[in-house]
């Protein structure tokens, strides 16, 4: 997917000015937050469990190559083929190649963010394979002219029921329905046909289990099961960082993932799929492929940003983010929104291509305290800012202003003079009123709110006077 992250500021302003989106965001806000808060209380030692989850993920990342090799060996032993992809283009080439080899005309897909990273649907069409998204949210986006998702687990959270009703009515040429169950039934009827006629199923993978060579899928709609068991060919596309050592580890991580994501104790479906269909088995694919993707991840391993690779894609950080809640996911411009996206996008697509994202956060650390694998998101955002400064990627004016301010702040006498001047100026600007409505020196501030007027003297002045010392 092409990144529009360099236009974050304009995207965000457009989101704020879009009344339909704003209304939808307001409806969605807090839904997951409240449910998560209740769900985590079911775990006796939530903090201890987070710590253990963090350890599991760290253990893998410290020897990622070894765990991947182990996974490759065990998966291979169960009849799967493991392929590696350097980037999105290579994912597309692999899938097209697999399609050609097995004479695939149609591929049903369950949710995969890697597919979004690669822009796979367009590539499949170009290769003569019809892609059909079967996750309800992803399906809605696909029939809406391949709209990008705005959330990693609830891709259409930005849409209202009304908008979906209109879309189904127009696309399916059926009477307009406004009840959710009726709309779901309609989607099901359309999709069933595709499930039965597809030659290939494409899924993501929440975890890869090294000891057994399995992929774990966590879904709520059951489409994942159909995608992975009905077609002859199953292709799993996932990031190289998704591997974990054992099934035991999976069970621990699963205590956190659905609770952090949707506030469910357990999602409706958890599938652990191992290998191709064996002679005595009823279901399953005859051919199973894993495409394990780098696309920027390998460079993060061993770097000061390695913590980010612990991410288990639960979405809690964005659900709790005041900025995400206010502008929605599309403004972030690439596949991953919210705090995790603001760290991942510059790392995967280049620091210079997402210059605003590390700054698009108040550093309130709401994300850091909810992250189930304890990723210090604000700290990583701050480190990215530091990288930008080191590489002189910040605007010249900002760099000079910062340097000048820091230089003055290091000189108390000069600083005191500057402060005395500034407060008098602001007091004058307020002209006797309690707050300033237009401030030329900080237009961004006063565009949306007033700036309260200062008292007019600095503390240092008043203190010196009151305590009669200088």
């Amino acid at each position: 997917m092409e990144s529009r992250s360099h236009r974050f500021k304009a995207n965000a302003s457009a989101s704020l000015a879009n009344p339909v989106l704003q209304a939808n965001l307001k409806t969605a806000k807090g839904k997951f937050v409240d449910k998560r808060a209740i769900a985590i209380r079911e775990i006796d030692d939530f903090e201890g469990t987070r710590e253990a989850a963090k350890d599991i993920r760290n253990r893998v990342l410290e020897n990622l190559d070894l765990w991947l090799e182990k996974f490759e060996t065990t998966a291979h032993a169960r009849g799967a083929t493991v392929l590696w992809a350097k980037d999105g283009a290579e994912i597309c080439r692999h899938v097209a190649e697999i399609g050609r080899k097995h004479g695939v005309k149609k591929a049903v897909k369950s949710k995969s963010m890697l597919s979004e990273e690669a822009g796979l649907n367009l590539a499949l069409e170009a290769a003569g394979i019809q892609p059909v998204e079967t996750d309800l949210g992803e399906y809605i986006l696909q029939i809406n002219d391949n709209e990008p998702p705005s959330h990693i687990i609830a891709p259409v959270i930005h849409k209202s029921l009304d908008e979906v009703a209109d879309l189904f009515h127009a696309t399916h040429q059926t009477p307009r329905k406004t009840e959710i169950p009726a709309l779901t039934r309609e989607a099901r009827e359309v999709l069933r046909e595709h499930f039965l006629t597809a030659d290939m199923g494409i899924s993501g993978g929440n975890f890869l289990v090294a000891e057994t060579g399995s992929v774990a899928l966590v879904t709520n709609e059951g489409n994942g099961r159909m995608v992975t068991t009905l077609p002859r060919v199953h292709v799993v596309i996932t990031g190289i960082e998704k591997v974990i050592p054992t099934l035991e580890d999976l069970s621990l991580l699963m205590r956190l993932l659905p609770r952090s994501a949707t506030g469910q104790s357990i999602s409706n479906y958890v599938s652990v799929l191992t290998g191709v269909k064996r002679p005595d088995e009823q279901d399953g694919p005859e051919h199973l492929y894993y495409i394990l993707v780098d696309n920027g991840r390998a460079d993060v391993v061993g770097s000061e940003f390695q913590d980010m690779l612990r991410c288990i894609r639960c979405g809690a950080c964005m659900n709790h983010c005041p900025v995400y809640q206010t502008i929605g996911g599309h403004a972030y411009g690439w596949v991953y929104p919210g705090p995790m996206g603001s760290v991942l996008t510059p790392l995967y697509t280049g620091l210079e291509n997402a210059i605003d994202l590390p700054h698009a956060a108040t550093l309130c650390n709401q994300c850091g305290v909810v992250c189930p694998v304890k990723i210090p998101l604000p700290e990583l955002l701050r480190k990215l800012r530091e990288k930008q400064v080191d590489r002189k990627l910040r605007p010249l004016f900002e760099r000079i202003a910062l340097k000048a301010w820091a230089w003055v702040a290091g000189r108390p006498a000069l600083y005191g003079m500057g402060a005395r001047f500034a407060v008098r100026y602001l007091k004058w600007l307020a002209g006797g009123r309690a707050s300033i409505e237009i401030m030329g020196t900080a237009p961004e501030w006063t565009a949306g709110r007033n700036f309260p007027a200062p008292e007019g003297r600095t503390f240092r002045e008043l203190y010196a006077k009151r305590y009669n010392k200088k």
Partner: protein, 247 residues
């Protein structure tokens, strides 16, 4: 007990009365308050903007000015959090300075945290009466665990009625330089905070960080609300009057 007051740059410029209120409270708790005269800013804006060198220079300046005191108290969770939790990170690569940062860290406190947990203030000097709602600022709350301390102090004022708002722990949208880099997003977040605060019907919004308070007050006034007061916790605890109006 001798303590050093870290006034903070915002209080110095915008609301000196908060600094004097802090002194009054600390003295009421039996402390002798020193105000090191060369202090300026803790350097947080530099650190959060990615300027490591500037952040380190200011950190060293603060350490030099304050390390000789038994305790350092700031009327701001954000600055106290920065000195306590970030200075050791900022100076991680300079062993001698790092050690000094760590030595200072455990003696730095946010004002209400210090009054309740260290100085064990009995009675507060103020006579404020009225309904208030308390905004939990992010750094104080999540960085230093400031949550019950200001409420305990408000509880010592018999005339104060605390009305908790929905999302009291949600960010107000200030975020330091964020507020001037992304003014529209920042103001939109502030609007939600103001809505939650006003929904309580409280006459005064109280908080422990001036940055948030300026943001909230600025948004309220822009929304046309001239009546709801926005006050720092130190002002409330030392005030001699009651409230003016409600949202």
């Amino acid at each position: 007990m001798r303590i050093a007051l870290f006034v903070t740059c915002l209080v110095d410029m915008m609301r000196p009365r908060i600094g004097f209120a802090a002194i009054e409270l600390l003295e009421a708790a039996g402390c002798e308050v020193i105000v090191p005269g060369t202090q300026t800013c803790c350097g947080q804006p530099a650190w959060n903007s990615g300027d490591h060198a500037a952040a380190a220079a200011l950190a060293k300046k603060v350490i030099g000015e304050f390390e000789g005191h038994a305790y350092v108290v700031a009327p701001s969770g954000s600055c106290a959090d920065h000195i306590r939790n970030e200075y050791p990170k900022i100076l991680a690569d300079e062993p001698e300075w790092h050690a000094r940062a760590v030595a200072l860290a455990s003696r730095v406190f946010e004002l209400t945290d210090f009054l309740v947990n260290v100085a064990r203030l009995d009675a507060v000097p103020g006579r404020f009466a009225g309904s208030v709602t308390y905004h939990d600022s992010c750094s104080g709350l999540r960085g230093l665990g400031v949550k019950t301390q200001p409420r305990a102090l408000l509880g010592k004022l018999p005339g104060v009625e605390l009305r908790e708002m929905a999302g009291a722990e949600d960010c107000c949208g200030f975020g330091g330089t964020f507020s001037v880099k992304f003014g529209d997003i920042s103001a939109a977040i502030a609007e939600r905070k103001c809505g939650n605060a006003c929904a309580t019907g409280a006459g005064t919004i109280v908080g422990g960080d001036l940055g948030c308070l300026l943001n909230i007050e600025g948004k309220l006034r822009r929304m046309g609300d001239e009546r709801t007061r926005v006050m720092h916790i130190a002002e409330v605890l030392t005030a001699t009057d009651g409230e003016a109006g409600a949202c």
